[in-house]
């Protein structure tokens, strides 16, 4: 095996991993603040993907420009889903929240998948632009631009999200609510509104990830579960509370997957994530970066 092949494979892993990281950010922030697990997060990614696909096919909109529609669109869908479904769950105590959110999330998963199949058929769809195959080549290593953009966008999102959480009143309100919602309420923070905005923010991030997933691969009604699973592994790996940590954990997972593909062949790729998941849960349940907070 040449050194180029190894570097190339690991680089690809890192680039795919930045999508894992982006997919996990939304799930992590919703889990951390609302203490609910939205297993339909992958379906929101799927919806974001379709949003970009149709914007490209019907309106001729460049996928990156389509984010201007997809991200606010998913934000609105997030508002509606929280308002209609999850707002009822967050009234419970924290233990009951998880259980009830799982039930609602699984139901939502089925509904959104079926809806997408009916509306868009079960076909795999992808976006092919003039630059889809463009790549830089450095010392024999190929760097496909579309995949590289995932890493760049991921870093921009991390910086922006961190700034929002640390510097703005709303961001601080979200962090305070994540730590202790009772005290946050006593500080004059409207908890219900914080939950609503946070959930919608998580959905908007899913929409962003969905565009990149579709641009780099394809979208179909049933991609949700695999992305929820990846996001969940990343959240467990990273722990709650650190935005850069979550993204970094995504990249690490991507690299670990491709390293294992190099070592044991592609068949074991998917297994690596699950093994990491189990190891982290048993030796460091707070995650690699848990508790470092935004």
């Amino acid at each position: 095996m040449s050194i180029e092949t190894i570097v190339q494979t690991l680089l690809f892993g890192a680039l795919i991993g930045s999508l894992y990281g982006l997919a996990a950010l939304g799930l992590s922030i919703v889990f951390g603040v609302l203490k609910i697990l939205n297993v339909a997060h992958g379906e929101l990614i799927m919806l974001g993907g379709y949003g970009s696909f149709w914007a490209f096919n019907l309106l001729g909109l460049d996928p990156y420009l389509s984010l201007l529609i997809v991200v606010p669109g998913l934000f609105l869908i997030g508002l509606a889903l929280h308002f209609g479904l999850f707002a009822r769950v967050v009234r419970f105590d924290e233990e009951d929240r998880i259980k009830n959110s799982l039930l609602i999330g699984f139901g939502l998963t089925l509904i959104l998948q079926t809806l997408a199949t009916h509306l868009f058929t079960a076909d795999e769809r992808s976006i092919t632009t003039s630059y889809s195959t463009a790549a830089w080549e450095i010392l024999g290593i190929r760097l496909p631009l579309v995949r590289f953009s995932g890493l760049i966008i991921g870093i921009i999102v991390v910086v922006a999200l961190r700034w929002f959480l640390r510097r703005t009143y709303w961001g601080k309100a979200i962090r305070a609510t994540a730590e202790d919602w009772r005290t946050a309420a006593l500080a004059g923070i409207d908890i219900r509104r914080t939950y609503l905005v946070t959930f919608a923010l998580g959905a908007a991030l899913a929409g962003l990830a969905g565009m990149l997933v579709t641009l780099q691969g394809s979208v179909s009604p049933n991609i949700g579960l695999q992305w929820t699973l990846k996001a969940l592994i990343v959240v467990v790996l990273a722990g709650l509370g650190s935005v850069p940590g979550t993204f970094l954990a995504g990249v690490l997972l991507g690299v670990a997957e491709s390293a294992s593909a190099l070592a044991f062949g592609g068949a074991y790729r998917e297994l690596v994530g699950i093994v990491i998941f189990l190891i982290i849960l048993s030796i460091r349940p707070q995650g690699l970066f848990g508790g470092s907070h935004a």
Binding site: A173, A176, E179, T183, L186, G188, D190, R192
Partner: protein
Amino acid sequence: MFIIENLHVSYGELQVLWGVSLKVPQGSIVALLGSNGAGKTTTLKTAMGMMKPTQGRISFRDQDLTLIPTHKIVNSGLFLVPEWRGTFATLSVLENLELGAFPLRARPFKDKTLEHVFELFPRLHERQSQRAGTLSGGERQMVAIGRALMAKPDMLMLDEPSLGLAPLIVQNTFKLIERLCREEGLTVLVVEQNVNIALGIADYGYILENGAIVGEGTTDNLLADQRIQEAYLGI
């Protein structure tokens, strides 16, 4: 004037408050005294909209607060420093204080109040970038009170401010509360098990037992009352 009238509160089947009534006149310090489990904390929680009464009315300056959400009550000028202090351990001291100014009524004064809080607690100025979770109990108390002041409240409610603190720190805390009332016109309702220290600064006191007010009076009258001396002052 802050008024609680005939407050009844239940945790599920278990009723804990049975018609509690009390008044806190503008600019005064009122103490709500009683032993553990008497319903003091429940009274404050209900006043802050964290529990719903089955009966009764809470009002502040003629504004009905019953059944209003907590953040709106805070914005109307009431602030509670809870028993668990209410500092955000993962946030820095400065962030904790800034969050205190979250209510819209307080935001325009944020910088000025922050200066004032740092004057009152120079220690917090030194430690502003430190995480609140790493502070000592006394310092966390300073953050809790500083955060309350940042909200620009007209009335401050304190739940067991002496809990778990060294006697000297308790004394300083109560001196400060008294000063904030006498010099800055803050209205105060303080809930305490430590009857001695609370009556040391209060104008008026209520005795809560098993969810009902069983005695009330000016500080001097309460201190002179033999039943109270026996039950709470250990004389």
